[in-house]
């Protein structure tokens, strides 16, 4: 699927956890986005687009989760149903569910849980099993746990304050649960993903985040150094093999 500019209309835009919103967008015609890919949203009044990972791909729409972290996402959170948005989509490489043999471990930190939802659906459609371990600071930040459970996969929660699930990091929850898996996929804060990659022997994929310019691979604003040389997070990633990342 080639990158295109496309008009979407907001169907709903609701707060689902602390500072966290779920945005449902619809368009005319079919939408084809794979897990781990993202869209770049033009926000009226702001110069650069906002890159947001895709949490679910509907036949004619998208589900996105975002956190209010600055003026742009604050403005997004105040947009009402019916508002028209112009998106660039689809962007970036995706996760590789086909590389999982039988059972996958999905590890999300905070809003990093969002792209794991579409990944879980893809894995299940390929007849594979999945277990999710999600980490949050506090109970009021928890999102996507019920949605993932509704797919029929086990979901384990870790919270830093111990208010829900295992007290501590996702690595503590993984150690407690000891799920069976042959490949893992992770998205979340860099220190979390670093700890996960250090703790787990299996092959794994990580979804990185970087401040982007164009979002489509031609401005080189989001380049990182990897074991394979410079890579653009937007176009060569955001998903990378864990071995490629220089922690």
């Amino acid at each position: 699927m080639l990158m295109q500019k496309r008009i979407f209309r907001i169907e709903s835009n609701e707060g689902v956890a602390r500072d966290t919103f779920r945005l449902v967008l619809r368009t005319d015609g079919a939408v084809a986005v794979r897990s781990g890919q993202f869209v770049d949203i033009a926000l009226p009044g702001f110069f650069l687009r906002r890159p947001i990972s895709v949490s679910d791909c509907l036949s004619d729409g998208l589900v996105l989760y975002y956190k209010v972290v600055g003026e742009g996402t604050r403005a997004m959170s105040e947009m009402t149903p019916g508002t028209v948005l112009e998106l660039l989509e689809p962007l970036g490489s995706g996760f590789h569910p086909e590389k999982c043999r039988e059972a996958a471990l999905l590890i999300g930190g905070g809003l990093g849980a969002a792209p794991l939802y579409l990944l879980a659906k893809e894995l299940l459609a390929q007849g594979k099993k999945a277990t999710a371990v999600l980490g949050f600071n506090k109970a009021d930040e928890i999102c996507l746990a019920e949605e993932l459970r509704a797919l029929g996969i086990p979901v384990h929660i870790a919270t830093m304050d111990g208010s829900v699930g295992t007290k501590g990091f996702v690595t503590d929850a993984i150690a407690a649960v000891r799920p069976a898996f042959d490949r893992f996929y992770t998205c979340g804060p860099l220190p979390m993903m670093k700890a996960v990659c250090a703790a787990l022997d299996a092959p794994g994929e990580v979804s990185l985040e970087e401040r982007m310019g164009c979002g489509a691979g031609f401005c080189y604003g989001c380049s990182i150094l990897t074991k394979n040389g410079p890579r653009r997070v937007c176009a060569d990633g955001p998903v990378f093999d864990k071995e490629e990342v220089l922690w």
Binding site: L2, M3, Q4, K5, A42, F46, F47, L48, R49, G72, L88, E210, R211, M212, G213, C214, A216, G217, F218, C219, Y220, G221, C222, S223, I224, L225, P230, A235
Partner: protein, 305 residues
Amino acid sequence: MVAEKNLAVSLCGLTMKNPVVPASGTFGFGIELADAMDLNTLGGISLKGTTREPRYGNPTPRIAECTAGMINSVGLQNPGIEALVADKAPALRSIYGGVIIANISGYSVEEYAFNCARADGCPAIDLLEVNVSCPNVHGGGMAFGTDPKSAAAVTAAVKAVTRKPVFIKLSPNVTDIVTIARACEDAGADGITLVNTFLGMRIDIRKRKPVIANTMGGFSGPAIFPVALRMVYQVAQACSIPVMGCGGVRRAEDVVEMMMAGATAVQVGAENLRNPMACPEIIAALPALMDSLGIDSLQEIIGII
């Protein structure tokens, strides 16, 4: 239906089907966007700035948003001059028939000359744009473009090694742009591209540190358009060589305005980063705009002010 309009311009003996050129650094090596649009609608393409050795560039974050613009601190990430002449430029040539502009950087007069000599030997390249104005690399780049003697020295050195047209891309971060443009003209430049980005800075007031990892970077976008236009006008008035206008151009009206100020071709930079289709959209909008303004040929409006 708009009557047939002539968008073509002549630049140093090269015919451009229209004056619109994606600016260096905002369009990769062109090939990155081949799937997203018909590149052959573009009058020219200025390729990513290239140094002798491959460069990774600056640490991230390299991008900061601003009101009506953005700051970048990419720092000339590029695969090096050999990759440009052996791979990138020929790959673009194989799919693109317009004017291919190699943007050349360096850390010394000798490096500029070396890179231009290599580019001169590459048939895929039509025109050299020598960047003496990058604000994002230390010990090179902008240092050559803020002093008339240095700018002239680079110009003379590269003119000695190439028969392709040479444009010098100037920095706006100077007291008197005209003096520097004249020095380049006197040293043999075939044209001037202006302007590069303005040195800028943002601070994250919550984290109490600069947004850009390298502290400062180059500011561009619609906010700089009036300043860039003024400099294009001043240089076009003072010099007899052609000017490629650059800075904050985002729509067909801006292209016409730049040309009236004296630009023969017009580069589009930051706008590509918010809208990758900006250049083809601007080109598509030009005929109807020309019609409403009573313009039959863009060549006629160059420098009418």
